[in-house]
């Protein structure tokens, strides 16, 4: 097993009456892309800020690279790159100057820094924009600049807090590919998001957080195995009669059916041929149907089953 690079034990953070983090426990291993998934307000960013010693906390212990993290742990900070949710660049410096400025806070050697800055520019695809000021950049390019400023010093641990918020799909894909590339190059990544698809796409291990505590942790497959649902079948039909619904419900692996807005949803637990079995009932009874979907469980299903609520329902739009 890889070395533990981040260890958060029993972390408690309170804002007066509100408990933002409630005995949070997380261990992150070297080489992982570790996802912190949870709805807005679940405590992801607070956890990151406590981890980085930006926020004080009421209780708990935080270790990074095997050492206790404090605000003056400069040797630890030297090896961390942070990309915060808010874009943190100086408005009156060009793209190149911004990256050079923030890289220079870590790398003293000018020659080495020059090379690192160039690498960061190439990595984020900002070659054509080096003389642009941030206000002239699109939202996606600005996010890429934000990332370049955070990773230019080639950190061992990179923390990205919702880096794709308000980013167009093209830039989002580029950012996600970049994160995977950083990981392939040896960096351990902590990635927080409330976008389940992103977390599912890139993270090797995931912690689902709700109300300041981790309610589940594991790889995406491990998380999905924690729940009853293994397949959700959706079929477009006109009003189904109760006889058909009863037959579907009696199938071995079906545990729930529901009809709404012309869509019949069939939830299954286990079994390899559920879709064939359901469609066979339609054929036997000569019932016509429209489009058919079969979906494997998502992290939202995991969240739904564990917390009893949809992750998206809890998001602040």
């Amino acid at each position: 097993m890889s070395d533990t690079i981040v260890k958060i034990e029993n972390l408690v953070k309170r804002y007066k009456e509100l408990t933002a983090l409630d005995h949070l426990n997380i261990e992150i291993r070297e080489g992982e892309i570790f996802g912190l998934l949870g709805p807005n307000g679940s405590g992801k960013t607070t956890a990151i800020n406590c981890l980085l010693s930006l926020l004080n906390y009421d209780k708990g212990n935080i270790e990074i690279f095997g050492k206790k993290m404090t605000p003056t742990s400069y040797d630890i900070k030297q090896q961390i790159g942070v990309i915060m949710q808010d874009v943190a660049v100086l408005e009156e410096l060009t793209v190149f100057e911004n990256i050079d400025f923030f890289c220079g806070l870590y790398i003293k050697d000018k020659k080495k820094r020059k090379q690192y800055v160039q690498d960061a520019i190439e990595f984020t695809g900002l070659e054509d924009f080096v003389k642009f000021y941030p206000k002239k950049l699109s939202g996606g390019l600005l996010r890429r600049l934000n990332i370049a400023c955070g990773i230019a010093h080639k950190p061992r641990l990179i923390i990205l807090d919702e880096p794709t918020v308000a980013v167009d799909p093209q830039s989002r894909n580029r950012i996600l590919e970049g994160i995977q590339e950083l990981n392939h190059n040896g960096a351990t990544i902590i990635y927080t998001s409330h976008y389940m698809e992103e977390v599912e796409q890139i993270c090797t291990r995931i912690a689902i957080i709700d109300k300041g505590t981790n309610i589940a942790i594991g790889t995406k497959d491990e998380l999905k195995k924690m729940i009853h649902n293994t397949e959700t079948i959706t079929i477009e039909i006109t009003e189904p009669d109760s006889r058909i619904l009863s037959k579907i419900n009696s199938l071995k692996h079906v545990y729930n059916t529901a009809f709404s807005d012309g869509l019949l949803t069939v939830k299954c637990s286990g079994g390899a041929h559920n879709l064939i079995d359901v469609l066979a009932i339609f054929k036997e009874n000569d019932i016509s149907f429209g489009r058919v979907y079969s979906e494997l469980p998502t992290l939202n299903d995991v969240f739904l089953e564990i917390t009893g609520k949809e992750m998206r329902d809890t998001e602040v739009q």
Partner: protein, 376 residues
């Protein structure tokens, strides 16, 4: 790291168009307006002639009589005093032979029938006299033996009025506006000081948070930002001062290098106060910016930027304000450079300004020294 941060903070400062307007353009625009309003007075010889004033004595006042007697006998007097009874004085005023009537009774009062530069100068003279007279009264109440010295001091002050009168081409009354303009340019350093604080605190800005996460001692990062702010402000003060001295050709007298030094000390004071405001509390950047601008303009108002004799009024009513108002201190320093050969009073004021600056900068550092935050 210090120099690296300094370089980029300075670049960031001098490229901020909004700040540049307030720091560099606004003082120049205001100075141009001052010049357009007052500048012709420097050119018109007739304006520099003595101002006729009627003086009527309803009651004897030896001190005032002594003062105007001395001024009347001077070769380059600012005023032409004409003694008259009330009726005659009023006739002269109505005919336009005099610009005002000074009536000496229990109180010394001024009567004018129109407003203008001459009337303002007479009023300014009387305000100054009354202010000094009050000081003498206070001294005589406490130490009657010191009355002679006080009267002597009063005469010295009237000498100052005479020596700096328009007759020798050095119109001190209007120079004060330009001195206050330089003061204002220096105190606008509050804006740069404010950004130095905001851009280095993790709970006030995203850039501040990023800096807090870097492996650098916060004090060094903040100190380099403050130095960048001071250099930016110094550029602003040099520009404004040079504009006043060399483009508008306002003769502020004294040693030009000392005028620049005064501007530099003022800039340091401005940056310090801005840094203090920026470090205090969690108000938004816009609110803090508004507070900084308001504070700097209010200080300048109290020192006479908008109303010429405001400092004199405050000296009479509540002199302690002039002692702690950085704008009043800076304009006093510039004034002493103009009127005094030595630097004794200048150094006293400079020391007071440095103490105020250090107070605010220390306060700012104490507020920013925390390493972690309760909220972000």
């Amino acid at each position: 790291m210090f120099l690296h941060n300094l370089k980029y903070e300075f670049l960031n400062n001098i490229r901020q168009k909004e700040s540049l307007f307030w720091l560099m353009c606004f003082p120049i625009i205001l100075g141009t307006f001052f010049y357009m309003g007052f500048g012709k007075l420097y050119e018109k010889e007739e304006m520099f002639s003595e101002i006729p004033v009627a003086v009527t004595f309803a009651k004897e006042d030896a001190v005032f009589e002594s003062v105007i007697g001395k001024m009347k006998n001077a070769d380059d007097s600012l005023f032409e005093f004409r003694y008259a009874d009330t009726d005659k004085a009023e006739k002269m005023l109505k005919k336009g032979d005099v610009f005002g009537i000074i009536t000496v009774d229990d109180e010394i009062s001024l009567t004018v029938i129109s407003s203008g530069i001459e009337q303002s100068i007479i009023k300014s003279f009387l305000d100054q006299y009354k202010s000094q007279r009050q000081i003498i009264s206070d001294i005589s109440a406490v130490d009657p033996a010191g009355l002679t010295e006080a009267v002597k001091a009063l005469h010295t002050e009237t000498d100052t009025i005479k020596n700096n009168s328009p007759t020798n081409g050095n119109m001190n009354y209007y120079d004060m506006y330009f001195m206050n303009l330089i003061t204002m340019a220096a105190l606008f350093g509050m804006i740069t000081g404010l950004y130095s604080a905001i851009n280095n605190q993790g709970n006030l800005s995203a850039v501040g948070a990023r800096k807090c996460l870097s492996p650098n001692i916060g004090f060094i990062t903040i100190a380099s930002s403050l130095l960048a702010g001071c250099i930016t402000q110094l550029c602003s003060v040099i520009l404004t001062t040079s504009f006043v001295l060399f483009i508008l050709k306002i003769d502020l007298g004294g040693n030009i290098l000392m005028i620049y030094l005064t501007g530099a000390l003022g800039a340091f004071a401005g940056v310090s106060i801005g840094f203090f405001i920026g470090s205090a509390g969690r108000m938004s950047e816009a609110v803090k910016g508004a507070i900084s601008t308001s504070v700097s303009l209010f200080c300048c108002f109290l020192s006479g930027l908008m109303v010429g004799n405001m400092k004199t009024i405050i000296e009479e009513k509540c002199p302690v304000i002039n002692s702690i108002n950085p704008a009043a201190i800076i304009s006093d320093m510039l004034y002493y450079l103009t009127i005094e050969a030595g630097y004794t009073r200048y150094i006293e004021k400079a020391a007071a300004l440095l103490i105020i600056s250090l107070f605010f900068i220390t306060g700012g550092f104490l507020m920013t020294r925390r390493k972690t935050y309760e909220n972000l």
